[in-house]
Assembly symmetry: C2
């Protein structure tokens, strides 16, 4: 099969666009597609220094490489961020993640910062998992958001990009439709403006398929970590797994299924949910770290975890 754009052998079929592309035309096509998403949703409006959160997986490394190109054209500075979360579980997940992230930052010659949460805050996610009565993915997500925001303030970053893809979004949206969790659905923004002391956050890959970031990373020989986080497999649950597999099956039957689900959510459904359910939270300042926390609370959730872990570790 020949590429739809040249005489080379095709290497990927984009069923929802009804094209097949060779390696180099695919790279060009995906970069343009992501750039169009960035433009259409005004993701870089007002951005001067863009932080890219890189876990080292196919999505975040592809994000780094593509956003570097887009930012260069616009004269926006790129800054790499990796958090060493201390997830080991016999698989050295976090240390591999950091190693790969650094490799990519140096390949592209971007400034970066690694935050080792054990060194910086005195505990690891593995330790929190054992000791904090809270689902580990929730503790981890909370910690990542906290650290991101804190680095942004420290480094003068005004926008942070994360690598959530269309598969992630479609799963989250489908689960929300099923469970009726409209509060979380209304917060699922692909462009979340700076507010309440939190930095602006964007998801440039929210319309890009997992298969596409994987193909891009492979073609461009981008170093990436293949392993998933060892916690992922334990927390998904039967319903979430079934929903994710189902989305892939529907995508095979109806090309563009996830894309339509996610884009129509973004354009039509979420705005209605946002108006009705998104709470405009008033915030207080955490008395320990000064970062924003919910109105009426003395200390933020991250400091609460940090203090709890400190106590537990001082006893043992």
């Amino acid at each position: 099969m020949k590429c739809s754009k040249c005489d080379n052998e095709a290497s990927i079929r984009i069923a929802y666009s009804n094209i097949i592309l060779c390696a180099s035309h695919f790279v060009e096509w995906l970069e343009q597609r992501i750039e169009r998403t960035v433009e259409k949703y005004k993701m870089l409006e007002g951005t001067r220094k863009l932080g890219i959160a890189v876990s080292g997986g196919k999505d975040s490394t592809t994000l780094l490489h593509v956003m570097k190109k887009i930012a260069d054209k616009k004269g926006i500075e790129i800054f790499g961020i990796n958090i060493d979360l201390g997830i080991d579980q016999g698989k050295s997940y976090s240390s591999k993640s950091t190693e790969i992230a650094v490799k990519n930052f140096e390949m592209l010659n971007v400034n970066y910062r690694i935050v080792n949460i054990a060194k910086e805050y005195g505990f690891t996610i593995d330790e929190a998992k054992e000791n904090i009565h809270r689902p580990v993915c929730s503790t981890c997500g909370l910690s990542k958001r906290y650290v991101m925001n804190w680095i942004a303030l420290e480094e003068g970053i005004d926008t942070i990009a994360t690598g959530h893809n269309v598969n992630d979004n479609a799963q989250f949206i489908s689960m929300g439709y099923l469970t009726g969790d409209v509060e979380n659905l209304s917060r699922l923004r692909n462009v979340a403006p700076a507010e309440n002391g939190l930095v602006k956050k964007i998801k440039p890959l929210f319309l890009t398929y997992e298969k596409e970031t994987l193909t891009y990373a492979l073609i461009k020989r981008i170093p990436f970590i293949i392993d998933s986080c060892p916690n992922t497999f334990r927390v998904g649950g039967r319903t979430q797994d079934a929903v994710r597999r189902n989305l892939e099956e529907m995508e095979d039957k109806i090309p563009g299924y996830m894309l339509n689900l996610v884009e129509n959510f973004e354009r039509k459904i979420r705005p209605a949910l946002e108006e009705k359910y998104l709470k405009k939270e008033e915030v207080s300042k955490c008395k320990i770290c000064g970062m924003p926390t919910s109105k009426g609370r003395d200390i933020c959730s991250f400091c609460a975890i940090r203090i709890k872990m400190k106590k537990i570790k001082s006893v043992t």
Copy 2:
């Protein structure tokens, strides 16, 4: 396997409630379940005369039998309605539908009215399908809504119940999520209050599965027509078919899937869509029939079709 409630042999498994029931306990269970839905969503609040739209299928005949019981307890009068749409296509679909509906009305000794649209309005849906440039299901739906409303006014009916089940709802909602048709989603009400000269409409089976109405009809030996409308198979389209089959597969994997999707839509998502998208239409009176039509239009869509068909038939 024994019934969860007695020593009889079970005949149906209700996976989402984790019970198995014998024939008579299933009948009792389903009637109570529908009654609870009617109460919870205040479907009969203010109702004195309830019209039941009966096509003769398993859903509408089950609806008639169950609502008769519920209405009797409340002292509400039941009135049966069947529309002979003139859909034949070598299968006598409409005449069979009317025959079965009448059989049920007479079994239950309820007053009823059959409207033959050929006699009353001078055309059949089969003729409209050939001559009107509009999808046949749209013409048919429009005609049914018109006739229902007109009978309601004539007969002093204040509420009309239709037999839409949870499978129908889940399909419609899933298609709406996929295509982003928020205008239609915001109109998908299970209790639509009387407004703009239109009678109140309710869907007491909106949380009842197809499998449940079928089982009820079979156990109670309710006469019903097994054939689907001959138009259904031609208009569904590949996407709609895949979505419907997919919902059934997901239901097998995750019992209660459709129920959760539909109930959470009703309780959480639709209210937000309604606030943002449901147009409070101003209406005019149709200059021909006096029934409500969109503000600024002289004649209603039904009269427009009727006049067009009259012209076409006078020429041929």
